[in-house]
């Protein structure tokens, strides 16, 4: 499969689908990242895993679609594509081919809050691809001959990942309705009419401001140690000039006072679906252990086939064939809980929604049982250990955390903080944030052909 430049919205949806570990879930007790900082401000994180002589290198920039200028939606992701188009040292179209000739794989991804580039490669070839990443951090060269066909590519990517799929179109509408002011309401890949007008100048301007060592985090996961790799990192990155990029400040959400409801009908839809989003704190914006409490609450409410919603709606009341929940906790600003349910044949969405609301209301009123808390803590803490099996996953976890306002300490203390969360904290977090006026509900239904 060809993934270059996947907007991360797709990833978020996948994460929700597969029920993968929340990004923060990383380190079992005892696992420690090694870290150091260069004088130009670049943070370096090393995640040793000596099982196989390969390394995953990721360069994370603290910039995503939520940092775009108004009217230029999609430029963060467009630039991600253009970063493969050559520098003063590397001809257009050569970057990925050169990595492949070294037996390596490369790709990149863009979210609301970050843009990341990676290479997976044999340890003895890391030096060369590290040089290539350092090179394109400051020396990108673009011409219209290169930029314009690539704009067609991202428009085609939008067709493929959003406009070919009514469910993804609905998701875009839901987010736009959830955020009254904050740019998380704008799609990562961009609105089509704005994407169509993006230019080489837009990309270069965005690049000049945001791509610099003081706005970057280098993550190296695999068969390396910090002591061993530091000279190589300094050789490639130490001379790059910082840009003095300032702290990200985005518009804040005003108080939300009204529940929003969306209805979309589409002739392409066969299977109706309902989705509910709640505006909630992220790990970065939460007070105390609110975010950990929400993580547990979501797992108990809708995580897997022992959850309350599955048991009530799928098993007992036979109203749904599937339910899912996802707390998108790794965000720089206020984020969302995603709930969705697929009705059984002939069940009206209104009936399913009412039953779902009853389960949620009951959960908020009475809170989780001690047994539910214990089971959920076991599962979440174990996820941190399962997560260690993949060096790619480990690099992603630390990179995500550090570009979404969290620290290494937050990542490594995550299992203990999950363990420490109480029933009262779960109840309080639910009561504070899982409220109709902080929500959007969407019905996606078939339309007459």
């Amino acid at each position: 499969m060809l993934k270059m430049g996947w907007a991360i919205a797709a990833l978020a949806a996948l994460v929700a689908l597969v029920g993968v570990v929340p990004v923060a879930a990383v380190a079992e007790k005892g696992f420690k990242a090694e870290t150091f900082k260069l004088e130009n401000g670049m943070t370096v994180i090393v995640l040793p895993d000596h099982r196989v002589p390969v390394v995953t290198q990721m360069v994370w920039y603290r910039v995503g679609s939520a940092d775009e200028t108004k009217g230029k939606s999609g430029i963060a992701h467009f630039l991600e594509h253009l970063m493969f188009k050559g520098t003063d040292d590397i001809p257009p179209g050569e970057f990925s081919k050169r990595v492949a000739r070294l037996g390596g794989q490369d790709n990149a991804f863009t979210s609301n809050d970050y843009t990341a580039y990676y290479e997976r490669i044999a340890k003895d070839r890391l030096d060369e691809v590290m040089g290539m990443e350092a090179d394109r951090m400051r020396d990108l060269r673009l011409t219209d001959e290169i930029v314009l066909p690539e704009r067609d590519v991202i428009l085609e990517e939008r067709n493929q990942s959003i406009d070919n799929d009514p469910q993804r179109q609905m998701t875009e509408q839901l987010l736009a309705a959830l955020y009254l002011a904050h740019p998380y309401g704008i799609p990562i890949i961009g609105w089509r009419h704005e994407m169509e007008g993006l230019t080489r100048e837009d990309a270069i301007a965005f690049y000049g401001v945001h791509y610099a060592p003081d706005n970057a985090i280098l993550v190296l996961a695999g068969d390396v140690t910090a002591d061993e790799i530091r000279p190589m990192v300094e050789k490639h990155f130490a001379d790059l000039k910082p840009s003095g990029v300032s702290l990200r400040v985005r518009p804040k959400e005003p108080p939300q006072l009204a529940a929003r409801r969306l209805a979309m009908s589409d002739a392409r839809v066969q299977q109706p679906q309902m989705t509910r989003l709640y505006l909630v704190p992220s790990y970065a914006t939460a007070k105390g252990s609110e975010a950990h409490a929400l993580e547990l609450a979501c797992d108990i409410l809708g995580g897997g086939e022992t959850s309350r919603l599955y048991e009530a709606l799928v098993e007992r009341q036979k109203l749904a064939t599937a339910v899912s929940i996802y707390y998108d906790g790794d965000a720089y600003d206020e984020t969302a809980i995603w709930l969705s349910a697929t009705p059984r044949e002939g069940v009206p969405l209104e009936k399913l929604e009412a039953a779902m609301d009853k389960v949620i209301a009951d959960f908020i009123a009475k809170g989780p049982t001690a047994e539910e808390m214990a089971r959920s803590k076991t599962v979440l803490r174990a996820a941190a250990i399962f997560g260690r099996d993949s060096q790619f996953n480990m690099a992603r976890i630390y990179g995500t955390a550090l570009t979404t306002g969290q620290s290494i300490e937050d990542v490594e203390a995550w299992p203990d903080r999950i363990e420490g969360a109480t029933v009262e904290e779960v109840k309080a977090a639910l009561a504070a944030y899982v409220k109709a006026e902080r929500s959007v509900t969407g019905y996606l239904t078939p339309a007459a052909q």
């Binding site: 499969m1 060809l2 993934k3 270059m4 929700a16 689908l17 895993d49 099982r51 196989v52 002589p53 390969v54 179209g93 081919k97 492949a100 000739r101 070294l102 037996g103 390596g104 794989q105 997976r120 490669i121 044999a122 070839r125 314009l148 066909p149 704009r151 590519v153 991202i154 085609e156 990517e157 067709n159 493929q160 070919n164 799929d165 009514p166 695999g222 392409r268 066969q270 299977q271 086939e305 048991e311 799928v314 098993e315 036979k318 064939t321 599937a322 969705s340 697929t342 059984r344 044949e345 089971r375 076991t378 599962v379 803490r381 996820a383 250990i385 260690r388 099996d389 993949s390 060096q391």
Partner: protein
């Protein structure tokens, strides 16, 4: 969203999976044989306190009786729905209590069961696995629910252009053959399926002669060997004889259009490939890398995406099923440009057959395919999947060490020969889902 939807997606991608690409490698594979004669392949790895066991029974939905195309899929899914003293809910809670990850699924050729656990919960995990394999319950309530879930999956599939295209391709190219059917069945067949049918299907298909086992993680050969007898010793030794033979290809050269009001046309194309045992298989892997398997290093990506911006993705694949080899490809293009993109793809397919690869392309392909092999084996989960695939394709326990040499040995003549066998644009069947302009179905 349900496991089922994921399962469907996975099954499709498995059908398209290549077992290709590999390199000389330090991973030590042990053959473990139980006192009762059951064999497993083990990679001992204690760096992380995890153990995973991946199990396969060769023979999946292709063995479903006619009119019961969902049988393997539903039967496998029922392994997670209660066993021994535990009903479905209790079984899942028992798994969760120790954070044990259990999965069961089927594709056309294989039934898969897997369990992954923290090393400290090994004993309990294998107990529960043993129950699922030897005493699955097939209770009525979860079975009813699963049928309803399957019906929803079918509806979701009918919205998904890639699934529609794949289903149409297989049913047109292999009419009347099990490979031409959907492993998720039809609304009518699902509605009439009974638990007893699923139970007897598994009883007949989960047999020791079709069993493959891969174990990776914090467990020794001495610990594993007796466990194999406990888990698998009571399964039947053999099952019914294979009834499926190699299919004939129909309608190659034809184009089918399925109209959906989407902005982008999704295209699947494909034709005859190579069996995994074919002496030219590795040459086909190298050829495919050059044509469309090599991402941004491939000719198709260069011509279709990089030079013209016609698509976000275009790729090809060689994928061997048990009884037939396939050469497959896919692309997604704006409705107005799909004719142009397809013409370009066809001309590239023809060009590689007529002119062969350049020496540089051949060298680059081999460097990548050998150099990246270690990346396919850098986690316990990947190693377990790889070991299972090696067993299913009967590649030998030393394949991990032989594989890169087999790639290195591929010559330009080999690639030219295999291109002559596989690359004929007029011997591929095309399915287009969307509102393509300037294309005619035939």
């Amino acid at each position: 969203m349900g496991e089922l939807r994921m399962m469907t997606r996975l099954m499709l991608s498995l059908v398209l999976l290549v077992l290709g690409a590999a390199s000389a490698f330090a991973t030590q594979v042990e053959r473990v044989t139980s006192p009762g004669g059951i064999e497993a392949w083990l990679v001992r790895e204690d760096a992380i306190p995890l153990v995973s066991m991946n199990i396969a029974f060769e023979g999946g939905a292709r063995l479903d009786p006619a009119g019961r195309e969902e049988l393997a899929t539903v039967s496998a899914a029922m392994l997670n729905e209660g066993a021994g003293p535990y009903d479905a809910g209790a079984f899942k809670r028992e798994l969760e209590a120790k954070a044990i990850r259990f999965g069961a699924s089927a594709d056309l050729d294989t039934i898969y069961v897997s369990v992954a656990m923290l090393a400290e919960h090994r004993a309990r995990a294998f107990e529960l696995l043993g129950l699922a394999l030897n005493a699955p319950r097939f209770d009525k309530a979860p079975f009813e629910r699963l049928r309803a879930q399957m019906q929803a999956v079918l509806k979701q599939e009918s919205e998904d252009p890639d699934t529609l295209a794949a289903r149409a391709w297989y049913s047109r190219v292999f009419p009347g053959h099990p490979y031409g059917r959907s492993e998720n069945g039809s609304p009518q067949s699902i509605a009439s399926l009974k638990p007893a049918e699923a139970k007897s299907f598994l009883g007949a298909r989960m047999t020791r002669d079709r069993l493959k086992i891969a174990v990776v993680g914090d467990i020794t050969a001495e610990e594993l060997a007796p466990l194999l007898d406990t888990l698998f010793g009571k399964l039947p030794a053999t099952g019914p004889a294979e009834t499926v033979a190699a299919p004939a290809f129909s309608d190659l050269g034809k184009t089918q259009i399925i109209e959906i009001d989407n902005p982008q046309s999704r295209v699947i194309f494909g034709g005859e490939g190579l069996a995994r045992k074919d002496p030219d298989y590795m040459a086909a892997v190298v050829m495919n890398y050059i044509l469309g398997g090599g991402g941004f290093s491939s000719r198709l990506m260069d011509e279709v995406r990089e030079k013209r911006g016609l698509a976000y993705g275009v790729s090809t694949d060689v994928s061997p099923l048990r009884h037939v080899g396939l050469f497959m490809g896919s692309v997604g293009t704006d409705n107005a440009k799909v004719a142009e993109a397809l013409a370009l793809i066809k001309s590239e397919i023809e060009r590689l057959r007529k002119d062969g690869p350049t020496d540089e392309e051949l060298a680059n392909a081999k460097t990548y395919l050998t150099g990246s092999f270690a990346l396919r084996l850098d986690s316990n989960a990947k190693i377990a999947n790889f070991l299972l695939a090696c067993q299913l394709y009967d590649l030998g326990i030393d394949y991990i060490d032989r594989r890169n040499a087999e790639i290195e040995a591929v010559t330009r003549e080999d690639v030219v020969r295999v291109a002559e066998r596989l690359l004929h644009a007029d011997r591929l069947a095309y399915v287009v889902v969307g509102k393509p302009q300037g294309l005619v179905a035939n």
